[in-house]
Symmetry: C2
Subunit: 110 residues, 2 copies
């Protein structure tokens, strides 16, 4: 079907999956890293740094905006993008606590 059955999972599980999607494509990882380095926060700069077409970069930016992890500020004729601190912190806490739930001492099937 290609369609995720979101209704059978918890809100938390769906949100974790959505936040993870922000990092689940190397282009989006690269974009986020570039935004953090702040050498490039304008779409055109990102297009120059990545070997991807402008339309493709715009599409990735749209997805990152949908998740909420970046925000765009119109600064004509450009649009300046940056990390959304609240959502970034949410990601920190979410993945932090999720990854901590596993105690390394736990062994398999005992």
């Amino acid at each position: 079907m290609g369609v995720t059955k979101t209704e059978i999972f918890t809100e938390q599980q769906n949100r974790i999956a959505d936040l993870a999607k922000a990092f689940s494509h190397p282009a989006r990882v690269a974009i986020l890293q570039l935004l953090i380095a702040r050498k490039a926060c304008v779409c055109g700069d990102l297009v120059d740094e990545l070997e991807l077409a402008q339309a493709t970069v715009s599409q990735h930016l749209k997805e990152l905006k949908r998740i909420g992890i970046i925000q765009g500020e119109i600064n004509p004729p450009r649009v300046c993008y940056c990390i959304n601190p609240e959502v970034w912190e949410e990601a920190q806490k979410t993945f932090g606590s999720l990854l901590e739930t596993f105690a390394l001492a736990t062994s398999c099937c005992n």
Copy 2:
């Protein structure tokens, strides 16, 4: 094209994206959480807890195995799955350092 241009990104970026894929679907999040709680580490138990067909669960397990974050131990007639501690730790370090690179003080487009 639907196909990612992995060759234009760094090894690190591609690995981050791959690790994030483990968490980018609520079913896989649920599976990992169940494996950590260790109330269910056998495929059949996971099928019982999730409202998904056995084939679908098996497919998600295969993807998690490909990433390396879980491992399967044959225990006939069952197969017991568990978290792979090394890769889990890799995920902890990877996401930990990535999420730390953003200093909250940084403001937008200045």
